[in-house]
Structure formats: structure tokens, C-alpha cells
Amino acid sequence: MIKSDQKLSPDIFGDIKKAPTRDGFGHGLVEAAKADERIVAVCADLVESTRVEWFKKEFPTRFIEMGVAEQNLATVGSGLANYGKIPFITSYATFSPGRNNEQIRTTIALNNVPVKIIGSHAGLSVGPDGATHQALEDIGLMRMLPHMTVIVPADAEEARKATLAIAKTDGPSYLRLGRSGTPSFTTPETPFEIGKANVIWESENPQVALIACGYMVYNALLAAKELQEAGIGSIVVDNHTIKPMDEKTITSVAQKCGAVVTCEEHQVAGGMGSAVAEVLARTNPVPMEFIGVHDQFGQSGEPEELFAHYKMDVKSIVEAGKRVIGRK
């Protein structure tokens, strides 16, 4: 049962369009920069694929090229923010916040300056590039840092809104983006607020809550529909803000359902699911299952092939849902 207050796309289970979250970021950045002249974009030799080229075209004097130097990307970004700019530093997530993690820790998070870290090509859905480019650790790395806001948008429109939202905060932020197209199921009217999870599906008498982020939110919706058809009610949460997490909503859906499945394109150790477990262990412990990568690296392949192999496809979410209900 799609929640009507979420104003989701009418095509949600039909012929739905796809767009990568990086596109939404590219549009959002131009929009944010029009409203705030302090915004600058810094990129480490990935102008086209991180969609920063749209900003560069619009604001050539506010674009700064780094070359292949991610440590410099973070530290020049720190200096720009310390001076008074709002820099969006862009690369692939394996390189930033991967390679430059210590620079982010010391010169951005501890220094507490408003650098906006944009990690594109995160998760298995990078596809054919293989394990070296499939960031599966970045949510964990970033959510461990004090001062850091961590957001994983579910589709391009949500990524656009998230970009506009982080442009307005005073602190550092991490925005995780994907390479491949994700179903565009939210609309400009869908609410978005940092730290406020969106309940997008709710059945009568729900027995399991599917809490997802990023690409996995749409898979969770499809799984909810399948479960419904099998007579099992559920709730689906688009848990886009990993930090600060919406503890109230997470606790409330766990209370209603009594069982939780978390779904993310990330190592299950340290990711969004772990963060949910940390909340529920305190507030309302319930049986949980974790959809994600279990202590393995990725590999080349098309996203759907990889999701099937790593048991992150719709079928695996449905099975996890039934399994966790059985553990109540």
C-alpha cells in the first residue's frame, strides 16, 4: 500500500523511468549554486562521470580541477571551506572518502568545516568496473565521524533534493551516489528532510519492516508488493539519512512490525543496517536480517546479475522477510 502522503510516481509499478542518482546531484548542484554564490565545485579528474560538468559549464570560474589527487581534493576543500566557501568535492567513493579518509577525518570532520563530499559510483551497481571501483565501505567510514551528515538518496530526484539540503547545512556532509540508473519513483512533491526517514509503503497489520537506502529502496518496494500478494503485510522505509538517523521512525516501525530487514548496497558490517541495529538494540530489539554484501568484495557484471549473486535482489529480500517473521 503506497503511502499517498509521499506523492510518489503514478508509474511506480508500471513503466517507470530510470535515472542515476549522480544526475540528480548534477542538477541539484547547479540549482544550489544559483542560490548561493559561496558554492564551488572541486573535482579529481571525473568531471563528466560525476556530472560536475553541468556546474562547470554554468559557473566556469567557480569550478576547480584537482587532477588525480584525492588527498588534495579533501585538503584543498578543507581550506576553501575554512576561508568561507562551500565546496562540493567530487570523485568516486572508493577514492573519496576511500583513499583520502584520514584527510577527511582530520581536516574536514575534526576541523568541522562545511565540505560536501560527493562519492559517486558507490555500491555493486557500478557494475562492469569491478571490485576496485565498487565502494562497499564508505557509509561505515563516514558514519563513524563526528560532525558528519551521511545521506544515501534512493533516486535522482531525491539526490537533487539532498544536494540542495546539504548545501544549506553548516557542517560537513557525505552524499553517496550511484552510477547506474535507478527507478525514478519519487517526485518533486515527495517530502525530503535530512534526518527524517520516509515511510513509503504501509500495509494493514504489517509483520515486517523493510528499511532500505539507495538503489535498494526500489527493490524493497517490489519485495513489499510480492509479500503483500503472498498475504504478508509490511512497511517500507526509505532511510536516506544514515546520520543523524531518524530514531523515532525506525523505532516506531520496528514496534509496529516486530521484525526488520535492512537493505543496502554496502558491507553489512558497519553500514546502514548496523546503524539501525544500534538504534533498535537500545530502543526496541526485534529479530533482524541484513541484505547487503557479507564480508566479500564485488566483481564485474551487470547490476542485476550482481544483486542476484550477492542475494540482494527482490527474491532475496522476500525470503529474508519470511525468514525474519519466522524468528519472532
Binding site: S78, G79, N82, Y83, T106
Partner: protein, 286 residues
């Protein structure tokens, strides 16, 4: 203010007072670095009391010159100099490295107004200074950005990413100073991992390079002024310094990189520095 002989004498006496505060605070702290801070006492004094355009009563003044300290472990000399310059009371120096202190073992920007940056892990200060200088130039700001680095730090890759970036962007409002004291934790830099030929390396990265005696206030001041007159490139000043400068028995001794004086050593060192005061006065009265 012209750097007359009288002014230099005052600055040298001030540097000696700051060294006295430094030895005192390091012994109180019971841990910390001694050699590097003593070696940079003259340069910090010259910057805070002569070169920098700043206001200790308004550390957030938007037009101030920025001084980024990249090698955060020598922060005791920055703290001591800032206290003498009026940023905070001298008594607070005794809180160095103590629980609840604004004077953390390595500097944290948010804890103490005027610090400009958080540092400790080496190699990342130059890029931060370059980011500030780049942002300032975008806005047509006139202030200058300075970055102090160590020589051992030149082994870190991030330094060269920053050097390449600043050179490419001709950031002439940025001046870096390397404390070339030849020591690092594991020994002499040229034995641990050689950084020479240092000047040639920086010139190859499109920097204007000046080498000076880091204890000669006039030479350092001249180099800073030369940097202001170079509009095509950022400038690097390689300041040759003596680690442990001012206390004969620890000068050039790399084992003093990362330890503080004991109570007995403190008494001995303070006595030597007080004697030095008379020598400075005498040398300028010749």
C-alpha cells in the same frame, strides 16, 4: 614598521622570552616536542610580532593574514607565541596537554580562536593553505596565506599534490616556509628518507624558492617581502634552523624531537636561556 636593529633586538629578546615559556610549559605538560618548537621560535616571533597582519583581540577578523601550521606537533611554540602576542593569558600555557585544556597536544581549530586549522597527521597543511589562498583570490581579498611545514613532512605525498596545485594555479598570495632542521623522529632526514634536492624539487613544481638562515630575522623578513613582490608563482622559503636552538646541549640532537625536559633539565635550560638574554642585549649594544 621598519625592521631596524632596535626592532630586531626587541624581537630576539621576545623570542628568548617565548623559549622560556616553552620550556616551562613542556616540563609542566610532561610530554610533547622540544627540538622543533625551539628551532622555530625566531620565525614564529617574527611572524606574530612583525609580519602578520592580525588582531589578537579579534581572531576572526575577515581580512587577517592566515597562518596554517601543517606540522601540528610543534604547536607549543605557536601557543607560547600567541599567548605573548595577547591571544590568551600566559598562565593558560600551563594547561598544555591537560584534560579540558584549549591547548590540545596537537592543535584543534575549534578549541582555540586564532589557530586557523587542525593538524597533526603530516602533509595536509599546504593544501589547506592553498585552498584558502585560492578562495581569497576568487573574492579579490588582499590578505596573504602562510603555511609552515617541517622537512620530514616532505616525505608525504599530499605535500606534493598541494605543491603541484598551487604552482599550477600561480597562487602568489601563498607563501610556504619549510623548517629545514634536518631531523625527524627516526633520525636525520637524509638517512631516514632523503628529501634533497629540496629547492630543485620545489622549483620543478613552479614555485619561487628562497633559502635563508631561519634564525636571522632580517633574512627571513626579506624573503617574505620578496615573496610579496613575486606575482607569477607561490613562494617557498626554506628556513635552515637548528633543532633545539638556544640550548646548546640539545641542539642538533634528534632524540629531542619528541620528548619534554625533566624538572632538572628545565632548571638548567631556563638558566641558560636567561643567560642568553644578556648576550642578546650585549650583541646589539656593540
Amino acid at each position: 614598521m621598519a625592521l631596524t636593529d632596535d626592532v630586531i633586538k626587541e624581537l630576539e629578546l621576545k623570542a628568548n622570552d617565548i623559549r622560556i615559556s616553552l620550556i616551562d610549559m613542556l616540563e609542566d605538560a610532561g610530554s610533547g616536542h622540544t627540538a622543533g618548537p625551539l628551532g622555530m621560535a625566531d620565525i614564529f616571533t617574527l611572524f606574530y610580532f612583525h609580519i602578520l597582519n592580525h588582531d589578537p583581540k579579534d581572531p576572526a577578523w575577515a581580512e587577517r593574514d592566515r597562518l596554517i601550521l601543517s606540522n601540528g606537533h610543534i604547536t607549543p611554540i605557536r601557543y607560547a607565541t600567541m599567548a605573548h602576542a595577547g591571544y590568551f593569558p600566559l598562565e593558560e600555557l600551563k594547561t598544555l596537554r591537560k584534560f579540558g585544556s584549549r591547548l590540545q597536544g596537537h592543535p584543534e581549530r575549534e578549541r582555540l580562536p586564532g589557530l586557523e586549522n587542525t593538524s597533526g597527521p603530516l602533509g595536509s597543511g599546504l593544501s589547506q593553505a592553498a585552498g584558502m589562498a585560492y578562495g581569497a583570490r576568487m573574492d579579490g581579498k588582499k590578505f596573504r596565506t602562510y603555511c609552515f611545514m617541517s622537512d620530514g613532512e616532505q616525505q608525504a605525498g599530499n605535500v606534493w599534490e598541494g605543491a603541484m596545485f598551487a604552482g599550477n594555479n600561480k597562487l602568489s598570495n601563498l607563501t610556504a616556509v619549510i623548517d629545514r632542521n634536518n631531523i625527524q623522529i627516526d633520525g636525520m632526514t637524509e638517512n631516514v628518507m632523503p628529501v634533497e634536492p629540496l629547492a630543485d624539487k620545489w622549483r620543478a613544481f613552479n614555485w619561487h624558492v628562497i633559502e635563508v638562515d631561519g634564525h636571522n630575522m632580517r633574512a627571513v623578513d626579506d624573503a617574505v617581502n620578496e615573496a610579496k613582490a613575486i606575482f607569477e608563482k607561490p613562494t617557498l622559503i626554506i628556513a635552515h634552523t637548528i633543532p633545539g636552538k638556544g640550548i646548546k646541549e640539545i641542539e642538533f640532537d634528534y632524540t629531542w624531537h619528541g620528548k619534554p625536559p625533566t624538572k632538572e633539565e628545565e632548571t638548567k635550560f631556563l638558566k641558560e636561556l636567561r643567560t642568553l638574554k644578556g648576550k642578546i642585549e650585549a650583541s646589539h649594544n656593540d
